[in-house]
């Protein structure tokens, strides 16, 4: 079963083709990693797959539905959630409220209810708050729930973004370098978290530089170089692919 599919996906920035004619599929319920040297187009690809950038050409299908050219909130409505490499936390809100925004699509969004706080809204808010608190606890941030987001240390902010993404109850979760800047203990926690989510049946797309994490957690790996597919396959296949070794270490290495 295919969760996400692209056809000839490309994105230009001026004269630079950051993503070039990519066609690939992401299977439901598996962990797919996207790796490649710096500037290979990984983050651009993630931005395309969540509607943050629009494609210069090509098509994107989520769950068989064509979402090409749609806005990010429409991707979210289709079950796509993500985190950011350069954090996009709401620093003007508490940690708990950050996660509650993640629940936006499941909240009571009527304007009149918001203006006069109907009993129904108050009841729904109580449930939403409790759910958000549980999610914070599941990523180990229960102690920070009521703190302002800008009081959280870096590692906690990364987990806060994951909790916010999970609050949307996504079917496809894209993580952009969740382990970047984390110490080994925190990286191990992220590893365990991704493994747990995959076990629960969530489809995960992981962009990551930490090879130990990538090799340990992935079912499939897509290797990008200059915006193109360099290799794709199971971790062992990719690890031993001479083209991948060359792209990472240079031609002299073998």
């Amino acid at each position: 079963m295919t969760m996400l599919r692209t056809e000839g996906l490309a994105r230009d920035f001026g004269g630079v083709r950051a993503v070039d004619d990519l066609t690939f599929e992401i299977e439901r319920g598996a962990v797919h990693s996207i790796i490649g040297p710096n500037g290979a187009g990984k983050t651009t690809l993630l931005n395309l797959l969540t509607g943050v950038y629009s494609a210069s050409s090509g098509r994107i299908y989520v769950d068989g539905k064509d979402l090409t050219g749609r806005a990010p909130h429409e991707f979210a409505a289709a079950g796509v959630a993500r985190t950011f490499q350069n954090l996009q936390v709401f620093f003007n809100m508490s940690a708990l409220e950050n996660v509650m925004v993640g629940r936006h699509l499941h909240e009571q969004r009527g304007l009149w209810a918001a203006l006069i706080h109907t009993p129904r809204l108050v009841a729904a808010e109580r449930i939403g708050r409790a759910e958000a608190r549980e999610l914070l606890a599941s990523v180990g941030l229960e102690a920070w729930a009521d703190a302002a987001a800008d009081a959280l240390p870096y590692g906690a902010l990364k987990r806060l973004e994951i909790a916010r993404a999970l609050a949307a109850r996504p079917r496809l979760l894209l993580l952009d370098e969740p382990a970047a800047g984390l110490n080994p203990t925190e990286t191990a926690e992220i590893h365990a978290l991704i493994a747990r989510l995959a076990e629960e049946g969530l489809t995960v797309v992981l962009v990551e530089h930490n090879m130990q994490l990538v090799m340990g957690v992935s079912d499939r790996i897509l290797v990008l170089d200059y915006g193109r597919r360099l290799a794709e396959g199971a971790p062992e296949t990719v690890r031993n692919d001479p083209r991948v070794v060359e792209a990472y270490l240079g031609a002299e290495a073998h």
Binding site: G51, N92, H117, G155, G181
Partner: protein
């Protein structure tokens, strides 16, 4: 939630405090001149509470809100005085028309950000003030327009005392509505847009829709205050629609403290009353007012209420978890290469 904790939250404690201030106001106001200042301050506060939703919470800007204020004022004045409609219906019609207009112009201009949005809203304000000044057959032009008093069910509202209660109750209602909105799914979506627009969008927030929504809501607050102002004063002139008035409104919000509903109220109250108090300085009045505002911005850039809240807010620090749980930031965490 125990009553003590409940009173400590802005929604209940702050609202109760504001209601008390409004209720005991008459005991502190010696004559009708002071009533007049209080009424004008409350009307400005209603505009600022709405404008703060747009500027302070949603992180957008408008330099044209005097336009909405003026359209509310002239709209209900023309409908009630020139065409002889019932004043309450005239107010309702003018406010509804302003909401529709704000929605229509909001859709294209709220695609703009920062300085560009400021310029676009400025342009809107200038168009409205030009129309008001030049359509003199309808608006009376620079001479202004006489407005009939507000009559409700055959009862004519006149005198500062009656108006004080009307405007006071409406201010409390406006603050209640704003506090409700901020602490709701829609309000969180607005604040999230301010924090990170792309972060809000990928969480499912329709940014364009929410920006237009808060723009229209803030325009409604301004239009309600504008139409009441026209009926209260019995007279309306183009100065209330001017660019200067738009700037005054934004200044009140920033001065009181952005993203603070009570800040907007206090900013409006102080900046409405201060010029009256400063008349003792005669010709130097505006110089002193300018100096007070510059000093405030230099020494409390977050505005009055947030600065005062931080001073009295040792409480907030205690909500942090113990230091043991804090992990040190990894070196270079802030500056990473992009993949």
């Amino acid at each position: 939630m125990p009553l003590r904790d409940r009173l400590a939250t802005p929604r209940t404690g702050g609202l109760a405090a504001l209601a008390v201030v409004v209720a005991v106001g008459p005991a502190l106001l010696p004559n009708s001149y002071f009533y007049d200042v209080a009424i004008l301050a409350a009307l400005n506060a209603i505009v600022c509470v709405g404008l703060n939703l747009l500027i302070g919470y949603a992180g957008q800007i408008s330099l044209g809100h005097a336009g909405f204020f003026g359209l509310g004022a002239y709209g209900s004045a023309i409908l009630a005085s020139t065409f002889g409609g019932p004043p309450l219906a005239a107010i309702a019609a003018a406010v509804a028309a302003v909401a529709a207009l704000a929605y229509l112009i909001g859709r294209p201009i709220l695609r703009l950000r920062g300085h560009y949005l400021a310029m676009a809203t400025l342009g809107f304000g200038i168009i409205v003030s030009l129309v008001v000044a030049n359509e003199d057959r309808l608006t009376g032009g620079p001479d202004g327009l006489t407005v009939v008093p507000l009559a409700v069910f055959g009862l004519t509202l006149q005198g500062e005392r009656a108006w004080y209660w009307i405007v006071g109750v409406l201010l409390v209602a406006a603050v209640w509505i704003a506090l409700n909105l901020v602490d709701s799914p829609t309000g969180r979506a607005l604040r999230a847009l301010h924090g990170s627009e792309v972060g809000a969008e990928v969480a499912g927030v329709d940014a364009a829709r929410h920006k237009v929504l808060v723009f229209a809501i803030s325009a409604v607050f301004a239009a309600v205050a504008g139409s009441l102002n026209a009926h209260y004063a019995g007279f309306i002139t183009p100065s209330k629609v001017s660019f200067l008035h738009s700037i005054e409104l934004v200044t009140m919000v920033v001065f009181g403290g952005m993203a603070s509903t009570f800040g907007a109220v206090l900013g409006a109250a102080v900046l409405t009353a201060l010029p009256q108090l400063l008349t003792v300085f005669k010709d130097y009045e505006m110089v002193v007012l300018g100096a007070v505002m510059m000093g405030t911005m230099v020494f409390m850039p977050k505005g009055l209420v947030p600065t005062l809240a931080a001073l009295g807010g040792g409480r907030r620090a205690t909500t942090r978890p113990p230091a043991v749980e804090r992990q040190p930031d990894p070196p270079g965490a802030a500056a990473e290469p992009r993949g």
